[in-house]
Amino acid sequence: MLRSKVALVLALCATMPNTSLQADSGMKEGTPDIKQAGALAFAPHGVLLVGDTLNAAIYAIDTGDTVASEAKSVNIEGVNEKIAALMGTGVEETMINDMVVNPVSGNLYLSVARGRGPDAAPVIFKADSKGILSEVSLKKVKFAKAAFADAPESKPGARNPRMSAITDIQYVDGMVVVAGLSNEEFASKLRTIKYPFDGGQESTSIEVYHGAHGKLETASPVRTFVTYENSVLAAYTCTPLVNIPVGDLKPGGKTLGKTIAELGNRNQPLDMIVYKKGSQDYLLIANTARGVMKLKLSKQAIDETQAITSRIDDTAGLPYETVKELVDVVQLDKLNADHAVLLVKKDARQDIRTIDLP
């Protein structure tokens, strides 16, 4: 999953971000009414952010998992089989929705659905450096909930089947940014929610266009994103990688991003991380069909690269290479300064593997 590399101050933030906030700021003890555990991210102090498409909400849960560890690796063969067994079911009834590393402890968190129907149970598992899986209990935990303003209605006679599938979440300093995709209208919206959640605020959505198509601009949904040097780097469903200055994300507004790379045909971006090796920053992107791509990143390169605004040619955009040894990667996150954790899916089997950052 995704994590901010640098601290950002979003223009939307009305107050200065409070970096000294406690883990349980704005939280109450109870059992969050999560219906679907989807996209995950970590806020500071071991607070797990869980995207719930069915409730149209983001939950912030204090895991209490704040003991730093020297974990160098997490490896679990057949993680889906093991999770299925713990839940007392088969792999056909087990879906791993997302995977994220707690940057404080180095433990891995997985959001899971037990079942594939509308009443599938949401479950969160933790894996430690020994590869031992345990369920993260959601009973009597400290948590806060931020519901979206346009949550689907379900009142008799006026059923509203519209939902926004939450495709990615990221914490940036004092703010949670959420990418989503409606199951009805075609729109590109990034939502931002002030953090810690105070229970009263509504999310703000920003319509993001990008100019990748000759003289045509589009409003395609964002699939996955990271933040880097005061920018959101967003991978779109129609495959461009777009740079959006954070300062452009103004409430209720519309902004135009700069297309800095094309991720290729017959391909969907799945997950991204930013990391540093030596003095060079890199972006690593897992894709459905084109393996794992690696791009050299720098603010100067993003600023200076020629935006892709015409028919595709080889001179525009940032160059990337494919990391050949990484195949079938569906999720990735940074474990520490030198290692990444991958969720690898091959046929019906899923493994967790740790690699040296390429």
Binding site: S154, A165, K215
Partner: protein
């Protein structure tokens, strides 16, 4: 019924399999178990393992234990070692972790309550320590019955319902008779032309776009194959082109939420015509107004088909005081007609139909903006109101 089971070095066993439907144990405290009960006798001993299943809970209970009181000094972790429940692995070599659950000792039995109801899709291996039985390690296999199956699901409708569709069509809605299973949609849907499957026509998202009941699936055509200038369209072209016939095919193997496949394969045949790049414009719509003191519908007739789901959601009728009025919305004539029948008769007054300007046609062109717009200088475009209103008088 008496069954014999022998597995590996485990010594068991014979167990009596008794099946009682809607049975409860009188001596136990008011269980919420009213669904079904199985009993498995362990070897020749007096010990019975009983599986009780209800809609949301499963209990495996060991009854007839002579050593029950001896167990009361043990911790839950120690109890776990004596009574292990695992998903029955397909291969003997595989050792799967034990099923999550809680262990308790009641007045008369040793209970395991699984974290989730046990599944009828798998079998469970129950291992009892020698401390619980007179035999050596005793193992038996139980197979939950689960919930009764509902009828096989069917495809009830596909929108747009027309059999003539534009080549830049953006999405289909597939409606099912009952909840479906997540995670296999894109394997089950095929776009066919002349008997050959069109490659990569859809936007495939791991999240899958369902409604909350999982009875409606939204299938987007890959936007990169529709938008001009992006690599998917540059390389592969439009997935559907003007003048050709196509078949949207839904496999009967698609499983319903309770793992039953569709009752039948479903196909939608359609012909493709030229792209639609025009925005819907209310100026081009016709309105038919009702009479006062009736519940006749007010009707809008469009000059093109609009998005079925959004027509049912983003229009409402307001009374002169600006209050939304209750009534029933109907979308008909291949999504070219919207009508609204109020719950209460119309009054002789002025009303308004309020329409969200994100209302789309079949190609993602909305009242507010076309699917593709001309590149604007930043901040150069006037913002479009989120709502428009069509006023009408009831006489």
């Amino acid at each position: 019924m008496l069954l014999s089971v022998a597995r590996g070095a485990c010594l068991i066993a014979c167990y009596v399999f008794l099946w009682n439907t809607h049975a409860t144990r009188a001596q136990e405290p008011a269980p919420d178990i009213s669904f079904q009960v199985q009993q498995h006798r362990v070897g020749k001993s007096s010990v019975i393992v009983e599986l009780r299943e209800s809609i949301d809970r499963s209990i495996l209970a060991i009854v007839g234990l002579k050593t029950l009181d001896d167990l009361r000094t043990l911790t839950e972790d120690q109890l776990k070692q004596l009574f292990v429940v695992r998903v029955h692995a397909a291969t003997v070599e595989t050792t799967l972790p034990a099923v999550l659950g809680t262990y308790t000792l009641t007045d008369s039995e040793f209970q395991f309550v699984s974290r989730f109801p046990l599944s009828a899709a798998v079998k469970y291996q129950v291992q009892l320590s020698t401390r619980l039985t007179d035999d050596e390690l005793t193992e038996l296999v139980v197979a939950p019955r689960g919930k009764p199956l509902s009828p096989a699901p069917t495809v009830q409708a596909i929108y747009p319902s027309s059999d003539v569709l534009p080549e830049n069509l953006l999405k289909f809605y597939i409606h099912f008779s009952s909840p479906m299973s997540r995670g296999e949609a894109y394997q089950r849907i095929h776009l066919m032309h002349a008997g050959v499957e069109v490659q990569d026509p859809f936007l495939e998202l791991g999240e899958e776009l369902w409604d909350i009941e999982q009875t409606r699936f939204t299938l987007f055509i890959h936007p990169g194959r529709i938008k001009r200038g992006v690599k998917p369209r540059e390389d592969s072209g439009l997935p559907m082109t003007d003048g050709k016939e196509y078949l949207l095919q839904i496999d009967e193997a698609w499983l319903g939420a309770d793992r039953q496949p569709l009752a039948a394969k479903h196909t939608k045949k359609f012909r493709v015509v030229a792209a639609d790049e025009e925005q819907p414009n209310p100026v081009n719509w016709k309105i038919a107004t009702p009479h006062a003191n009736t519940r006749q519908p007010v009707t809008l007739t469009f000059n093109e088909a609009l998005d079925h789901a959004m027509l049912n959601r983003v229009l409402l009728v307001r009374d002169p005081a600006g209050e939304a009025i209750d009534g029933k919305t109907t979308v008909s004539d291949r999504e070219t007609v919207w009508s609204f029948e109020p719950t209460q008769p119309w009054k002789r007054s002025d009303y308004a139909i309020e329409i969200a300007t994100n209302l789309e046609d079949l190609c993602g062109n909305s009242i507010a903006r076309p699917f593709e717009t001309k590149l604007q200088v930043e901040g150069g475009e006037a913002s479009i109101a989120p709502l428009v209103a069509i006023e009408f008088a009831v006489e």
